[in-house]
């Protein structure tokens, strides 16, 4: 499995010279599975460029797993080229809702007045489904989704292929559910991340920001992300969902705090960066 980052920013796109190093596009990660299957995690603004890249090949089936429907995770959909080309089949999965189907919820964004063209006009064959309750096979991988602590229904994903595990929990505030040194089964998201080789986790805030008014907003401080990764026995943490106000330089200062918080048996953490490609094999 190859993990490619097309967007790692949280909350709002943040282009500009201060963020050019790690990128300003919002959440989008591509997984290239061993059998060639493409799985996309989230449809933030990073999916625009990924869509252009996909057009270089013959139309086919692409799987898109949405963690939740906050705008920074779906805002790129309207500009995802395969959606607007006949011949592509897009299988979407997302969080369940007791009140509306996934297609209905996505259509609230992809319809006037928020967007000029309705989802029903898209030429691609787009199928929208709630995530299965049990792990399911996609290509050569098995995907598992579970609800995690965030504002509104939100999923985290665990993708396992050939014995390697990638966990993706970009929007998550586990500290709200339990102290991060509590019994791990009571920590939101623990089972998804347990013993993962690589975890992309919400690291939006500094400790000072978290403690001064952002508690309960659904995101983690970077040190909480490190503590969560340690509790889950993750081999390597990648800081993800960078605050839109965070410059490249400030991200690197935050990284130093996180690096101090990882366990001795863990690899040094990473800062998720647009264009970064990680092979898990």
């Amino acid at each position: 499995m190859i993990v490619r980052i097309w967007g790692a920013r949280g909350s709002l796109s943040a282009p500009g010279p201060a963020t050019v190093g790690y990128g300003g596009n919002t959440s989008c990660v591509e997984l290239e599975l061993a059998d060639g299957t493409t799985v996309i995690l989230d449809a933030g603004s990073g999916i625009r460029e990924l869509g252009q890249r996909l057009l270089e090949r013959e139309p086919g089936l692409v799987y898109i797993c949405l963690t939740h429907l906050h705008l920074d995770h779906v805002e790129g959909l309207g500009f995802f080229a395969p959606l607007w080309r006949a011949g592509w089949k897009l299988q979407f999965w997302g969080p369940p809702s007791p009140t509306a189907t996934l297609r209905q919820r996505i259509s609230r964004y992809l319809s006037p007045p928020l967007f000029p063209i309705g989802l029903s006009e898209a030429p691609a064959e787009a199928v929208f489904e709630d995530v299965p309750r049990e792990p399911w096979r996609v290509g050569s991988a098995v995907i598992e989704a579970q609800m995690v602590e965030h504002r509104g229904p939100t999923l985290g994903y665990r993708i396992e292929e050939e014995g390697r595990v990638f966990a993706y929990v970009p929007d998550h505030e586990p500290y709200l559910t339990a102290a991060l040194d509590d019994r791990p089964e009571w920590i939101s998201g623990w089972a998804l991340a347990a013993n993962a080789d690589l975890l992309f986790h919400d690291s939006q805030y500094t400790d000072e920001e978290y403690q001064s008014g952002r508690f309960g907003w659904g995101h983690s401080s970077a040190t909480h992300a490190a503590a969560f990764a340690r509790a889950a026995g993750v081999r390597q943490l990648a800081m993800f969902h960078h605050d839109p106000m965070r410059s490249d330089r400030e991200l690197e200062v935050l990284y130093d705090q996180v690096a101090e918080g990882v366990g001795n048996d863990q690899e040094p953490p990473l800062i998720a960066r647009e264009g970064l490609q990680i092979a898990l094999s």
Binding site: P98, E149, L176, T177, A178, E185, W186, I187, S188, N195
Partner: protein, 134 residues
């Protein structure tokens, strides 16, 4: 450790209960006791740290629930048990033997915890001790 954990609704319910000063108890979809808070520990006669999680049969044996007029009450007949079986909120009173040796009467409001419209993952019971009869 097995990579299993309770549904997020139960995790959040437990987190909520830890912060409540009102006695609160949570059972899972099997009827097993999975958590009670410190205030509930005062009424039940022992803390959760001491008691831990208990299968339904075991907590019945420990607390010996019974009706106010002293008829034995099976776990599925308590407000929490009814809420779980019938998937509806229930309010009622019953008596039990506290683990500190005191006999107590409580009134309980129990409601099912739905994680999806068709899936109950447990029941939260909030209760109050009734004043002792004069």
């Amino acid at each position: 450790m097995a990579r299993t954990q309770p549904d997020l609704v139960l995790i959040v319910a437990r987190s909520f209960a830890t912060k409540l000063a009102t006695p609160t108890l949570i059972i899972d979809a099997r009827g097993d006791l999975i958590y009670f808070n410190a205030a509930a520990g005062d009424v039940l006669g022992r803390s959760y740290l001491d008691v831990g999680s208990l299968p339904a049969s075991r907590w019945q044996e420990l607390f010996q629930p019974r009706t106010i007029d002293e008829q034995p009450l099976a776990p599925e007949e308590t407000p929490g048990g009814i809420a779980l079986r019938e998937r509806r909120p229930v309010h009622g009173s019953f008596a039990f033997s506290g683990l500190d040796g005191h006999e107590r009467e409580i009134t309980v409001t129990a409601f099912p915890l739905f994680s999806r419209p068709d899936e109950v993952v447990g029941v939260m019971s909030i209760f109050w001790e009734l004043p002792a009869a004069p």
